[in-house]
C-alpha cells in the first residue's frame, strides 16, 4: 500500500511491522516525531507493545538491552547528543550481543549547537560493534530497517544495527512510500526468539559478568567474526527481501561508474543530489559516476575495491569533520579499501550542521576531480562549501 510518509514515520512503520514489543524512547529533535508516533500507536492499540517513557537516551538503551535479553524485540531511536549520551550503552548492547535495531536521525553533536543534519553523531559510534546502514530516501528507511532486524538477529551475527537517516532532509520530508502488508513482513521476519544469552528464571545464566584477561580477546573476537562474516548474511537477507517485497537493497550502489573517469563516493540523502549532477554532467559529455555506500559498518571493502579498482581519480564526500585526522572516516575507509590500487583519492568535507549539499558544490567537486584526472590542475578544495574568512565569522566588542 502506498502512503505519504516522512522518514521518521517510515521508521515507525518499520518498527510496527517488525512487531517491536518494548519501546523505550526519549525525544530529541529531529527524532521527536518517532517517539511521539510510537507512543501514539501503542496508546491507541495499533501496535501491541510496552512503551517506556524514559528519562534519557542512556536509559532508553539500557532498557532496550534488558528487554532484548528478556525475550522481547526492543526498539528505540535517537539523534545527535542523544546518541552521544547513549555511547556507553552502545558498547554494552553490541558486547552483550543484544540485536537491537535503532533508527538514528543524523544531526550534528553540540557544540556548536545545531539542530541540523551531519553524520558526526553516528560516525563517532562507528567502531563500537554496531552495523550501520545509511539511507538515501524514506523508502530506504523503511526497507533497510525491516531488513536490519533480520540481519541483526541472525544467530551467527547477533549484532545491533543503526539505520541512519539524515535529519530533516529525510526525517521531515514527505515521500511516497510503499508500505508492505503485515502478513508479508511476518513471512519475512520471524518472531523474535532468544537463542543466544538470555535472562530467564527457568533456564538461568549470568550475562555480562567480568571477563578476565585470559579470554577477553576471544570474546571480543567473536564480535569481529560476526562483522567479518556479516556480508554473507546481508546479501542473503537482501535477496530474500527483494523476492518478498520486490525492491532491491544494496550494500553499495553504483551509479554510472562503469565507464566513469572519476567517481565520487558518498552516503545518505546527498546521493540523490549527486545522481542528479552526474546526469547533467553526463549530458555535457563528462564521464562522472557515483558510489553510494549503504552499509558503512561492516565496511564493504571488497565491494568498493571491485568497482573502483581501475579508477584513477576518486573523490570521497564526508558529511563529518574529522578533527585532527588525516582524512575523514569514509575517505579513510575508501583509502584502506583501495590499498594496492593506483588511485588518487581526494577527501571532501561538507554539508556540516545542516548546510545543503547543493548541485553547484557537487559539480565543483567533479570538475576538480576531472582536472586532476586530465592533469590540468591539482586544485583540491577539501572543505568544499567553506565561506571566505571563516576565522572572522565572530567579531565582538570586548574590554581589552
Amino acid at each position: 500500500m502506498f502512503k505519504m510518509l516522512d522518514g521518521n514515520t517510515s521508521a515507525v512503520e518499520a518498527m510496527k511491522l517488525a512487531r517491536v514489543k518494548v519501546i523505550a524512547a526519549y525525544p530529541i529533535t529531529p527524532q521527536s516525531t518517532i517517539s511521539e508516533k510510537l507512543s501514539e500507536i501503542v496508546a491507541n492499540g495499533e501496535m501491541d507493545a510496552k512503551y517506556i517513557r524514559v528519562e534519557s537516551e542512556h536509559t532508553a538503551m539500557s532498557a532496550c538491552i534488558g528487554a532484548a535479553l528478556t525475550g522481547s524485540r526492543a526498539g528505540t531511536a535517537t539523534s545527535s547528543n542523544g546518541l552521544a549520551l547513549m555511547n556507553e550503552m552502545i558498547v554494552a548492547a553490541s558486547g552483550i550481543r543484544a540485536p537491537i535495531v535503532m533508527p538514528v536521525v543524523n544531526r550534528a553533536i553540540a557544540t556548536p549547537w545545531s539542530l541540523w543534519c551531519e553524520h558526526m553523531d553516528t560516525m563517532s559510534q562507528r567502531d563500537l560493534g554496531w552495523m550501520q546502514f545509511f539511507t538515501q530516501n524514506c523508502q530506504d528507511v523503511l526497507d533497510y530497517t525491516i531488513a536490519a532486524y533480520k540481519i541483526a538477529e541472525n544467530k551467527d551475527i547477533m549484532t545491533p544495527a543503526m539505520v541512519c537517516l539524515d535529519g530533516f532532509f529525510l526525517s521531515h520530508s514527505m515521500q511516497k512510500i510503499d508500505v508492505p502488508a503485515q502478513e508479508k513482513v511476518d513471512e519475512f521476519l520471524p518472531e523474535y526468539e532468544l537463542t543466544n544469552s538470555y535472562l530467564n528464571p527457568e533456564d538461568p545464566m549470568f550475562v555480562s559478568n567480568v571477563v578476565g584477561m585470559n579470554d577477553y580477546t576471544e570474546v571480543k573476537y567473536q564480535q569481529k567474526y560476526a562483522m567479518d562474516n556479516a556480508f554473507g548474511v546481508i546479501e542473503n537477507v537482501f535477496d530474500e527481501f527483494e523476492k518478498q517485497f520486490g525492491r532491491k537493497l544494496n550494500i553499495i550502489e553504483e551509479y554510472k561508474t562503469e565507464d566513469a573517469d572519476v567517481v565520487l563516493v558518498c552516503m545518505g540523502s546527498m546521493t540523490g543530489t549527486v545522481k542528479y549532477v552526474v546526469d547533467i554532467m553526463r549530458e555535457q559529455g563528462k564521464k562522472v559516476g557515483m558510489i553510494k555506500i549503504v552499509v558503512f559498518r561492516p565496511f564493504p571493502y571488497k565491494y568498493i575495491y571491485e568497482v573502483l579498482k581501475d579508477k584513477k581519480v576518486i573523490g570521497v564526500f564526508d558529511r563529518n569533520s574529522c578533527l585532527g585526522g588525516q582524512y575523514p572516516p569514509v575517505c579513510t575507509e575508501v583509502i584502506a579499501a583501495m590499498k594496492g590500487a593506483d588511485a588518487d583519492i581526494r577527501d571532501y568535507v561538507g554539508g556540516l550542521g545542516g548546510r545543503d549539499v547543493n548541485p553547484a558544490n557537487i559539480e565543483k567537486i567533479f570538475n576538480e576531480l576531472l582536472d586532476i584526472y586530465n592533469g590540468s590542475s591539482d586544485k583540491h578544495t577539501n572543505w568544499i562549501d567553506l565561506k571566505e574568512n571563516p576565522m572572522d565569522s565572530r567579531e565582538v566588542f570586548k574590554y581589552v
Binding site: 558486547g95 544469552s197 545464566m205 550475562v207 559478568n209 567473536q222
Partner: protein
Amino acid sequence: MQKQQEKHTKQLKKCRVLGPVATKFTGGNTGSWRLERPVVDFDACIKCGTCAMYCPTDVIEIDKNAKECVKIDYYYCKGCGICAKECPKKCISIVPERSEE
C-alpha cells in the same frame, strides 16, 4: 499451547553462546584467607543459631542432636569473627590458625 509443549520437550544440550556469559556455579576456597579460626565450646552452646544467622558466608549449621552441635565449613570460613562476637553465650573463641586450641 504449542510453545508450552515445546518447553516440555526441550532438553539440556551444550550450545554455543556468543558474548560474556557465565553458567558454571562455583566458588573459591575462601577458607585459605583465614588467619584466625572460630572454635566452638559445644558444652556452653545453647544452639540458638545466632552465629549461623549472621555468618556472611553462610557456612555454619546447627545440628541440635549432635554433640558437636555447631558445624563450620572451614573450606569457606573467612575467619571474620562475627559469630564469636555475636554469640550470646560467648562460647565461640577465635584462635590463631594452625594453633593447638
